[in-house]
């Protein structure tokens, strides 16, 4: 019962915190430089892990699916199946998990350490709202970066699938691309994947900044908050993926 009360209290605090962040976002358009700086540290610095992971996921997908599809003589549909798996599910979900591990944890640790070293209090005492200047730009940068990273993940994954399917396993190049063009629907598949990645970006960024801001300002507190960011946002992404998939593809 006590644990439930604590959980609900934190959820309430987190929701109020989110409202404060959202209220501070319009002001950011006057100081967009702050968002651009964060887009670099949150988005660009997550690019390498996203590219490498996307490439390997696409390659493995192609390998696995080729052997299954070839038993039905349906190797030509490889491009379509790899593409659907990536844009509908794996792109948004795996990119979000990587984003939580790389950028989410870094955001929590950075904000938590700023709290532990009294930098946030220092801003407060300079009459500068840390939610507007520190938290909101990071949240917005995470929200913007996530769909872009998911799109890059899917694009690179398809190229990885192509290199294995066409170059290594001998699937016809024309069939690979034409199946994608023919069977992958922009609204049902691509757009739904983009919506998912926006939702995941929102959730991971929210959890990451809240955990940092709400952490106990000690080294142990920051370490625990960082772990919670990765665990909670990964679980939230997977749970939300199920809910969104159920709604989108019913």
């Amino acid at each position: 019962m006590k644990a439930l009360t604590q959980m609900l209290t934190r959820l309430g605090r987190g929701s109020l915190f989110l409202i404060k962040i959202l209220a501070g976002i319009p002001q950011l358009f006057l100081r967009f430089r702050l968002v651009v700086q964060q887009l670099h540290s949150v988005g660009v610095q997550t690019l390498m892990i996203t590219l490498v992971a996307g490439l390997f996921v696409g390659m493995v997908l192609a390998l696995q699916l080729y052997y299954t599809l070839s038993t039905f003589g349906a190797e030509d549909t490889l491009g379509m199946v790899v593409d659907l798996a990536l844009v509908r599910e794996l792109g948004p979900v795996v990119a979000a998990l990587l984003f939580a591990g790389r950028a989410g944890s870094a955001l929590t640790a950075e904000i938590g350490l700023m709290k532990a070293t009294e930098q946030l209090s220092g801003l407060e005492m300079m009459a500068v709202d840390p939610v507007n200047r520190i938290i909101a730009p990071r949240f917005l940068a995470g929200f913007i970066s996530m769909p872009l990273l998911a799109a890059i993940f899917s694009a690179v994954g398809i190229l990885g699938g192509y290199s294995v399917g066409v170059d290594l396993l001998g699937v016809d190049s024309g069939a690979f691309w034409s199946q994608i063009q023919d069977k992958v629907d922009f609204y049902d598949d691509v757009l739904n994947g983009v919506i998912k990645s926006f939702v995941f970006g929102f959730i991971v960024s929210w959890i990451a900044v809240f955990e940092g801001y709400d952490c106990i300002p000690t080294s142990e507190g920051v370490s625990r908050a960082t772990t919670r960011t990765v665990v909670h946002s990964s679980l939230a992404v997977l749970g939300m993926d199920f809910v969104l998939t159920a709604i989108m593809y019913q």
Binding site: T117, Q119, G122, M125, M126
Partner: protein, 267 residues
């Protein structure tokens, strides 16, 4: 009698079961250096955070410059904070900005000064703390004493009416200590500031404070001018000023005696 810039009335505050303030009353005079002293964990820093409006009391009020800090709207509180400078124990410099940018930060946030004007003002503030040549350094490249001097320059950036110092002397080598003592004293008299200094470094604090308040176990146990405190024969004051291990603040943490605890083992 100097007018009180800060009036604290019947302040109560707890952290969980631990009562930090149990009805504190205090007046802090304008234009003077007031030292708030007391053993570790008595809530000295908490008191500064209450004055700055970062923490809310359970009861009582803090009036700064005629305004009740905890009844102000957020925008009004921020207006008041522009007139308060605070020097944190760690310096609290923004680690991703240079020394120059740290001091320019409040000026950029709250004024429309031109870049050339900001440049001049920042260098003047840094010159006052002896670090104008260090304006390109990052906070990680500064020693603890230098970081506090930069933080002092930043606290002075908006020309506040008062400055709060949170443990300014802790962990400093003798030279840095001497520099900080000199800076605090000179800044206060040159700029006609009101300074509140929270510290448990008796010698350094007593050397520059005009007024001294000693708090312990949630109450103000002694208050007066420096001379009055130095000559006081109160057991609280003597224990703190002379550094006696036992006295009104007991050597043993309150609770069961060792005999009672040992008896439990043998039962």
């Amino acid at each position: 009698m100097t007018q009180a810039l800060i009036q604290i009335r019947n302040l109560h505050f707890s952290r969980g079961q631990n009562k930090i303030f149990d009805g504190i009353d205090m007046d802090i005079s304008a234009g003077r250096i007031t030292a708030i002293m007391g053993p570790s964990g008595t809530g000295k820093t908490t008191l500064l955070k209450m004055i700055g409006g970062q923490l809310h009391p359970e009861a009582g009020e803090v009036i700064v410059d005629g305004q009740n800090v905890h009844r102000l709207k957020r925008s009004e509180l921020y207006q008041l904070r522009k007139k308060m400078g605070m020097l944190f124990q760690s310096g609290a410099l923004l680690t991703d900005l240079t020394v120059f940018e740290n001091i320019a930060y409040p000026l950029r946030e709250h004024t429309n000064l031109s870049e050339s004007m900001i440049y001049s003002m920042v260098l003047i503030k840094l010159q006052a703390v002896g670090l104008s040549a260090a304006h390109t350094l990052m906070p990680a490249e500064l020693s603890g004493g230098m970081a506090r001097r930069v933080a002092l320059a930043r606290a002075l950036a908006l020309d506040p009416m008062m400055i709060m110092y949170d443990e300014p002397f802790t962990g400093q080598d003798p030279i840095s200590l001497g520099v900080l003592v000199k800076l605090i004293q000179e800044t206060n008299s040159a700029l006609k500031l009101t300074s509140i200094m929270v510290s448990h470094d008796v010698n350094e604090t007593m050397s520059i404070a005009d007024d001294v308040k000693i708090i312990s176990q949630g109450k103000v146990v002694a208050a007066g001018t420096r001379q009055e405190i130095e000559q006081s024969d109160s057991a609280w004051v003597r224990q703190f000023i002379d550094g006696q291990a036992d006295g009104p603040v007991p050597f043993h943490y309150p609770g069961e005696t060792i005999e009672q605890q040992l008896m439990k083992v043998t039962k």
